[in-house]
């Protein structure tokens, strides 16, 4: 039937509205596919479809009139969605839902169906009005994005697992290497101790003992290195406290007291050995055996940029200090230079105070 004659069909609707009605004209000519069904007839058949509906579905008007809308459904239409539509119709409710529909040529499209009842003055449902919209592109796009997201999430999970395994392996390797270093340091210490025993000359024994004490300081550094949660940093404060406590315990002066004021300070791990050796060298000088020690004071603080370690001694009796051995002075100078640190000495007959100031990060590095 010629499309231009379709206005005749408004007669079939038994509507109170007639020819020339602007609302009917709108429904007929709109680009949005629309259909009207009559629930008064058995199985709620279609009684009107506009041109847009015919274009969308590929069916002519004659092929649509008298059929229930379900003729557009097919094998892949979701029965759950269909059931929702049926329930809405039975209850006389509105419903908006996406349904997979089939055209006459068998191809499918996603139909954004909007169904609403048209009630008469008595409140009873006289017609159902349905608009259709081809939203295939939107639905497929959503599915594609969801699929892609799932894939990306999957890849991210795999990659994260890989990185975690790698980190674990590197951490194990670090600890393994560290373990070997500690064992090697142990052997070096043992060799020195044996050498000291075998040496008869006091001069030789003294020299070896100084070396042994420096190696012991390195050992103390390595015991603490890489033990923290963040292996990039070394806790200098606890190292210094231990170093001084051990020196106090080993001292021949039994009544030696230690007074300490220590703030937790950390240094990048690569500076640990130099800083530890520097502080140890200063300590060795303050604890030389000819000095009758009464008390030791330790101060360790950081202002964020510089760590300050001050070790002070008080003597039992006035004692002039001896010149520092050349090797000690050289070690202190070189280690301080390497760390861009400085060591200030305040020597009196009653005791000595040494302050070591170490920058936390290199003065040349960018902060």
């Amino acid at each position: 039937m010629d499309q231009r004659d379709n206005w005749h069909l408004t007669d079939l609707l038994h509507a109170e509205r007639g020819r020339g009605d602007p609302f009917a004209a709108a429904v007929r000519s709109t680009r949005m596919p629309m259909a009207i069904t009559d629930p008064a007839q058995p199985d709620n058949p279609i009684v009107f479809v506009n041109e847009a509906f015919q274009l969308l579905t590929g069916y002519s008007r004659e092929e649509c009139i008298g059929k229930n809308c379900r003729f557009l459904q097919g094998d892949n239409t979701d029965p759950v969605a269909v059931a929702k539509v049926r329930k809405a119709v039975e209850a006389g409710d509105d419903i908006a839902i996406d349904l997979l529909n089939y055209r006459k040529d068998g191809s499918t499209f996603w139909n954004a169906l909007y169904l609403s009842p048209v009630r008469g003055e008595d409140g009873a449902v006289q017609f159902f009005f349905a608009s259709q919209l081809d939203v295939t592109e939107r639905v497929e796009s959503q599915r594609r994005i969801a699929g892609q997201k799932e894939q990306v999430d999957h890849e991210v999970r795999l990659r994260t697992a890989d990185l975690e395994a790698l980190l674990e392996a590197q951490s194990l390797l670090l600890h393994e290497v560290d373990h070997r270093v500690k064992n090697n340091l142990s052997v070096i210490g043992s060799l020195l101790r044996m050498q000291i025993r075998g040496a008869e000359e006091p001069v030789v024994r003294r020299a070896l003992r100084s070396t042994m004490e420096r190696v012991d300081a390195m050992a103390a550094i390595h015991r603490r290195l890489y033990q923290a949660d963040d292996v990039r940093y070394f806790e200098l404060s606890s190292f210094v406290v231990n170093l001084i406590q051990d020196a106090v315990n080993a001292s021949a002066y039994n009544s030696l007291t230690l007074d300490s004021s220590v703030q937790r300070t950390v240094l990048p791990s690569e500076k640990a050995t130099s800083a530890g050796l520097l502080i140890n060298e200063v300590l060795l000088n303050l604890f030389e055996t000819y000095l009758p020690l009464a008390a030791v004071k330790l101060d360790c603080h950081s202002d964020g940029k510089t760590i300050s370690v001050t070790i002070g001694t008080r003597l039992l009796s006035k004692t002039p200090h001896h010149e520092m051995p050349a090797i000690s002075a050289k070690l202190i100078a070189r280690l301080a230079a390497q760390l861009e640190a400085d060591v200030a000495w305040d020597r009196t007959l009653d005791g000595t105070s040494a302050t070591i100031r170490i920058p936390v990060s290199s003065n040349h590095a960018e902060t």
Partner: protein
């Protein structure tokens, strides 16, 4: 309970010969004696039952792929009164309960560290409780303090 008097009889379980020598010398410097040495679990198994060491220093990584943790279990079975101290570069792998042992000395050792630890342990074995403070070189397990009351 009869407490031993120094010199204590000490067993050293360590596979690095130089470290074992070093430990032996430091033990003697502290006034005690080394009654036996073992480098692996198999060595330890072959030790005589009569040995009854008062104290055993046990490294964790031993020869022939054996572990000090197993040696510690062996010692606890054969000589339940022996005080067991792990001497290791890797204190982190020791379980929280020390697997029944009494303490750990982290490597590398220093001479002063070993001597102050030895003093503390000796007091705990011969004349508990120790009067000196627990030194940094030695971490006791609760099992050690538990022996002081017996």
């Amino acid at each position: 309970m009869q407490r031993p008097k120094p010199p204590l009889n000490i067993l050293i379980v360590e596979d690095e010969p130089l470290i074992a020598m070093d430990l032996e010398m430091m033990v003697e410097d502290a006034g005690h004696s080394v009654v036996a040495e073992a480098t692996s679990l198999y060595d330890a198994e072959e030790l005589n039952d009569d040995l009854q060491p008062h104290l055993a220093f046990v490294d964790i990584q031993l020869a022939l792929d054996t572990s000090g943790l197993d040696v510690s279990q062996l010692i606890q079975k054969r000589w339940p009164r022996t005080i067991i101290v792990f001497v290791t570069a890797n204190p982190k792998i020791i379980p929280d309960d020390f697997a029944g042992a009494h303490g750990v000395m982290p490597k590398p050792l220093s001479r002063s560290g070993f001597l102050s630890a030895m003093k503390y342990i000796q007091e705990g074995v011969c004349d508990p409780p120790p009067t000196v403070q627990q030194p940094n070189s030695f971490t006791a397990s609760p099992a050690f303090a538990a022996t002081w009351n017996k």
